[in-house]
């Protein structure tokens, strides 16, 4: 076992439930490195939503809540607000975060509460068998869009930024080095941090939408579609069709963080 895994993995919960070739393993790997580099293991409070990615924190031997579908963020708010020193990280998927949980997502961003929300976007409801998601590309064929998806997908980073998130970044499972840097910076950012990880899902999205279950091919597709911030600025809308921007998309400092705002508002002396 890798020394990092040996140090941080909750061995009783192994083996991982992820399918071979899944992008979630990469995120777990990168996250462990971020925790090691930052030396914050004791301060971690992890929350997992429902879906494949929600299982991710259950493999760490820190304190973990594995909660209800769509509700990871409000649970995380409760953890953060009972002790603002906690490093609260939410692991969620696209369906969990902006399908069923969309309302909580925008309100937490609006409050600028210091959570790090890592949303692994595979563009499909994977665990339930491959149904259309609010992130499925137009015309994408899934088990519930057999004639092609008619709904335009969310740009979740744009949504986070307009709702009030103060740190927004997007990478893919094919960018582990950049993702590591971003997760570390995001955890350290004192405000609502949203990190989207575009990830391959060989079992569902790969098979139904992309026409391949080969993880290598799917990673190549992710790389091909990822356009850096600098290049995206020069690209025409036509050139960006079917692609997405990666990088640190938004970083606002100096805005009051919500848990701090609450604790600062308390009277100095107890009145009761």
């Amino acid at each position: 076992m890798h020394p990092l895994a040996d140090k941080y993995i909750r061995k009783r919960t192994l083996p991982l439930i992820f399918c071979p070739g899944c992008g979630d393993g990469t995120v777990l790997n990168v996250f462990l490195r971020a925790v090691e580099d930052l030396g914050i293991f004791k301060d971690l409070a992890l929350v997992g939503g429902i879906g494949c990615s929600g299982w991710l924190p259950t493999y760490l031997q820190s304190d973990v809540l594995h909660v209800l579908h769509g509700r990871a963020i409000p649970f995380a708010c409760g953890l953060k607000l009972t002790d603002p020193r906690r490093k609260v990280v939410v692991f969620t998927g696209d369906g969990d975060c902006v399908g069923i949980g969309g309302n909580h997502f925008i309100h937490a961003a609006r409050r600028n509460i210091d959570l790090t929300v890592i949303m692994i976007n595979n563009g499909i409801y994977g665990m339930t068998g491959g149904q259309v998601a609010p992130t499925t590309p137009l015309q994408g064929r899934t088990q519930t869009s057999p004639y092609g998806n008619l709904e335009p997908p969310f740009d979740v980073c744009e949504l986070a930024r307009s709702a009030g998130a103060t740190y927004v970044a997007r990478w893919t499972a094919a960018h582990p080095v950049q993702l590591l840097r971003t997760i570390k910076e995001g955890i350290e950012h004192p405000g609502f941090t949203f990190i989207e990880v575009m990830a391959q899902c060989p079992t569902q999205a790969g098979r139904y939408i992309e026409g391949t279950s080969d993880a290598g091919e799917l990673l190549s597709l992710l790389k091909k579609r990822a356009v850096s911030l600098e290049k995206a600025k020069e690209a025409s809308p036509g050139e960006m069709t079917g692609k997405f921007v990666v990088g640190k998309l938004h970083h606002l400092t100096g805005r009051k963080e919500f848990s701090q705002a609450i604790y600062d508002s308390f009277p100095q002396e107890k009145s009761g």
Binding site: R10, T13, D63, V67, L68, L81, T82, D83, R86, K270
Partner: protein
């Protein structure tokens, strides 16, 4: 001791503060909003966190997160919001999480009758979330009981590591009356685990089916709290039939095995009564009047008020059923607790349902008439 004239909703808020609640999240809803308003005023004075969330789902989920963050927590709502909270209540039962949920009942279904009273949520309180689980449900019939039972609810939540629900109603919530608030109330503090982190098994009962103490996050216990069926260590067990079955049985029996200790009823002249009014919440008030009026007319009437609905006090009802000729159950719904009474009495006495819908509580005369008709 402080004596105030306050309504039941304020009494719930004052009770929560007295019991040590230091985290509250809620969403405005008639007729429960005053609880949320009072908590927003009171909590900061105690360095407690008040949150108005985006909906009732977020409210229950944030208080559950805060419970594992180390706080005694509470939310309050009414019918439609109570429906939205049910999944969270199920999660709390599944994960042995202490939480207090106050439902100020209004008429339903759907948007229903926001400004009027009802007792239509008695079954939703017990069965509202999917799956098998148990909750403790307390029912105040006055502002004083709203205070007392809220304190009690927090204490029971700690002892049983379980959601405890308070079903009050619009009449109790909005009736201002005298409430005695003691300077000090008996409080059960959250128990830390007796065992050290290394030997701590979070979901293994230690005695009486109850768990060891509850660590907060970031105390070094590395606890996995999972809303999926899990083993004693918190690990995924949905694929293990025996482990899954044992877990569900444990969370049910940790409440039902203690039903006798949980009994909380008030009786008036039941010993020799031929007719007994079995009541809870607002209708208990006209029912007591009716029992007294009946006695003054020479009718052997008695009064039994349930301050706990779930687990249902079977033994008390069984005793009354063996002794009385007739049992009358006035309630502000189509007759729900009536069926529970009928189940326990099992034909040994005549059980009459006295339902009342529309938002108004029974008058003493209506209750009296039901008795006369029964004779």
């Amino acid at each position: 001791m402080e004596t105030s004239v306050i309504h039941g909703n304020e009494a719930c808020a004052r009770g929560a503060i007295a019991a040590g609640c230091r985290f509250f999240a809620g969403y405005p809803i008639t007729p429960a909003s005053e609880i949320t308003e009072f908590m927003s005023r009171l909590l900061p004075r105690y360095r407690g966190v008040f949150l108005q969330m985006e909906d009732e789902i977020a409210s229950i989920c944030s208080v559950l997160g805060a419970a594992w963050g180390g706080a005694k927590t509470c939310t309050a709502t009414s019918g439609p919001g109570f429906t939205l909270m049910q999944e969270g209540i199920g999660w709390a039962a599944e994960t042995d999480t202490p939480v207090v949920v106050i439902d100020v009942m209004r008429g339903g279904p759907a948007t229903g009758q926001p400004t009027s009273s009802s007792q239509q949520d008695v079954m939703q309180a017990k069965y509202g979330s999917h799956g098998d689980y148990e909750v403790i449900v307390l029912v105040p019939s006055s502002a004083q009981e709203a205070f007392d039972l809220t304190v009690k609810a927090f204490n029971l939540a700690e002892v049983y590591r379980n959601p405890v629900l308070i079903l009050t109603d619009e009449i109790v919530g909005h009736t201002r009356e005298k409430v005695r608030i003691p300077g000090q109330v008996e409080i059960v503090e959250r128990k830390r685990p007796a065992s050290a982190a290394a030997g701590y098994v979070p979901f293994r009962p230690v005695s009486g089916g109850l768990l060891d103490g509850m660590p907060a996050f970031n105390q070094g216990y590395g606890i996995l709290v999972d809303g999926q069926l899990h083993d004693e260590f918190g690990g995924r067990a949905g694929h293990k039939p025996e482990v899954s079955a044992a877990m569900v049985e444990r969370i049910c029996r940790k409440i039902t095995d203690h039903a006798d200790e949980l009994v909380d009823v008030e009786e008036w002249m039941v010993e020799d009564a031929e007719v007994v009014f079995v009541t809870f919440g607002s209708p208990a008030r006209p029912a007591l009047r009716a029992a007294k009026d009946a006695r003054s007319q020479g009718i052997k009437a008695g009064f039994l008020k349930l301050r706990i609905l779930w687990p249902f006090p079977d033994k008390i009802i069984d005793r009354v059923g063996r002794q009385a000729r007739q049992i009358i159950v006035p309630e502000m719904n189509m007759g729900k607790i009536f069926r529970e009474v009928e189940r326990v009495v099992a034909g040994r006495a005549e059980v009459l349902s006295l339902p009342k819908l529309g938002g108004e509580v029974h008058t003493p005369a209506e209750i009296m008439r039901s008795m006369t008709n029964g004779q």
